[in-house]
């Protein structure tokens, strides 16, 4: 349901959204869809985690490289999982508000390539 609502918020702003409910599906989408500019991902998920997704996507290369925004229910972004410094990515705290979501997305995508 959260995916639905997030999608709705961003579509309203003119962005095209694709959703996936787990890492594997997401990777599939990334592989088959060219030109993905931004991936917003939850960190803690059953099965593979957000950092797994980030690692996989970065390893797959591709051009242009997608940017990331990470979300979590925890207070701060200092969850060091594996070898990625998750603090380097823009961070959204849960529960999500649509305004902050939209703001963050705009900010990230407007940074010049």
């Amino acid at each position: 349901m959260i995916l639905e609502l997030m999608s709705e918020a961003l579509t309203e702003e003119g962005y095209q959204c694709l959703t996936a409910s787990n890492v594997d599906t997401a990777l599939g989408v990334v592989k088959t869809t060219p030109g993905i500019a931004l991936i917003i991902t939850d960190l803690k998920m059953p099965g593979k985690s957000g950092s797994d997704l980030i690692k996989a996507v970065q390893a797959a290369g591709g051009d242009p490289k997608p940017k990331f925004i990470v979300m979590s229910g925890h207070a701060g972004p200092n969850i060091n999982e594996g070898d990625i410094d998750l603090g380097s990515f823009p961070f959204l705290t849960k529960p999500l508000g649509i305004e902050s979501l939209v703001e963050q997305v705009r900010a990230v995508l407007s940074v010049g390539e």
């Binding site: 918020a9 803690k44 229910g73 529960p95 999500l96 508000g97 649509i98």
Partner: protein, 444 residues
């Protein structure tokens, strides 16, 4: 006090007195110079003198025996008095209440501590039947029955056991106590009778502490769960926040689409209900359980526990398998406490599998029943419990976790909870890990 010697001296003194008197009255008459031979002769001639002169010796000896006899009598008496005093001192200095009864259960004596615990003075209680006086009516049938069995068979299941019961204080309130009754034979009035000695120990403080420990342990478990619950609650909250945001945005833009708004509001409602269930559950859990014994389906309890921790378990990539037998019976117990025990087992299983890094992490929860009992089994694939630890897992403060991790209280509290409900909990190892079996009495 050597009476014997003194008496003997006294005797000899009397003896010499007689001799002196005889001398004075001139009975010791010897012709001319007294020689040994003439003295002997004199005694033979006059038997009276003979008797008188042997008086010191005879009296000395007989008084000696008199003295001895007196002395041993005195000693015995003193010993008896000392024993009696010692006994009373002992009885009245004991912290526990001591009640001495005859074979009918009628009180013969009570200690000072008994007066305090029961609120009666000695004289109020002596001569009365203890059970009628201080046992609540609900126990009296049993005590009378027990007494009858004892009178007939000189055996009783309650003798030599510690029993937790309540007694009624003089002012009417009940006191939780532990009672131990022993029998002994007394020689009273020349007859050998059985009598009972009851030791009553006030356990009000102990019960309060036990309740506190359970509460503390529950709060500790609660703390552990708080993080996972916070995570769980974030889901519905995210939906609520976004749905509400949408509604507000639309209105701000001047777009009033009833269907759209209705859709968003429905979402919000549904999510608040979901959150409420989680919160309610937690609140129930934290409350001090003065709950009554309930007959409850064990499956319900297991599912409720999984409700709370299922999410985090999935996150930790632990698979949960449940097997509920068709015929599970009902369990007579305290639902929240049983739930706490199950949560404790699940938490331990999770920790074990965390540490062991095993390939497959599976927790299996099984519920089935036999004629008299219901079984709740929790199995994990965490590698099992080391042999030496297996004996001690239920010991308070015993933990195999490193310092700072875990209190070592969980299993001991679980043990206490299950035992309080007349059940049992046991630990054993399986091929892949550990298995804990909770056995509880079954009701229908």
């Amino acid at each position: 006090m050597n009476y014997a010697l003194k008496y003997s001296l006294l005797g000899m003194f009397f003896g010499w007195f007689f001799v002196g008197a005889a001398w004075f009255f001139g009975l010791h008459y010897v012709d001319g110079m007294p020689t040994f031979a003439s003295i002997i002769q004199m005694h033979v001639d006059n038997p009276v003198i003979g008797i008188v002169d042997t008086a010191p010796v005879v009296l000395g000896i007989s008084f000696y025996f008199l003295g001895s006899a007196y002395q041993s009598l005195y000693a015995k008496n003193k010993e008896s008095e000392d024993n009696s005093a010692r006994f009373n001192a002992l009885m009245n200095s004991a912290f526990d209440a001591i009640v001495i009864m005859d074979q009918r259960g009628v009180v013969v004596d009570i200690s000072r501590a008994a007066e305090t615990i029961l609120g009666y003075e000695r004289q109020d209680v002596i001569g009365k039947k203890l059970s009628t006086l201080v046992f609540p009516s609900r126990y009296q049938g049993d005590t009378d029955h027990g007494l009858n069995i004892f009178t007939q068979t000189a055996e009783s299941p309650t003798i030599g056991q510690r029993l937790e019961v309540e007694v009624v204080h003089r002012d009417g309130h009940e006191v939780s106590v532990e009672v131990a009754i022993e029998k002994h034979r007394v020689l009273a009035d020349g007859q050998a009778n059985s009598a009972f000695v009851g030791f009553i120990h006030d356990i009000t403080a102990r019960k309060a502490t036990a309740a506190q420990i359970i509460q503390a342990s529950k709060l500790a478990t609660l703390g552990e769960m708080a993080t996972s619950v916070a995570h769980e609650l974030n889901q519905p909250l995210s939906v609520i926040r976004m749905a509400a945001g949408f509604g507000r945005k639309k209105l701000a833009e001047g777009v009033v689409d009833p269907e759209y708004l209705e859709n968003k509001l429905e979402k919000i409602e549904a999510q608040t209900l979901r959150a409420a269930v989680i919160i309610d559950h937690m609140r129930m859990f934290g409350r001090k359980a003065n709950e009554d014994l309930e007959a409850i389906d064990p499956r319900t309890i297991v599912l409720r526990a999984l409700d709370l921790v299922g999410g985090p378990l999935r996150l930790a990539q632990i698979e949960v398998v449940t097997e509920f037998a068709e015929d599970r019976g009902l369990v007579l117990g305290h639902p929240i406490q049983i739930e706490q025990v199950i949560l404790n087992l699940i938490a331990n299983a999770r920790d074990a599998m965390d540490e062991s890094d095993s390939e497959s992490k599976i927790i299996t929860l099984r519920v089935f029943a036999a004629e008299q009992s219901v079984y709740i089994v929790a199995e994990d694939t965490g590698g099992g419990i080391p042999e030496d630890a297996l004996q001690r897992v239920f010991e308070p403060f015993y933990t195999t976790k490193e310092m700072g991790k875990g209190t070592g209280l969980g299993l001991s509290v679980s043990y206490g909870i299950v035992r309080d409900m007349n059940g049992a909990i046991a630990a054993e190892n399986t091929e892949a890990g550990a298995r804990f079996t909770i056995t509880l009495p079954r009701v229908n």
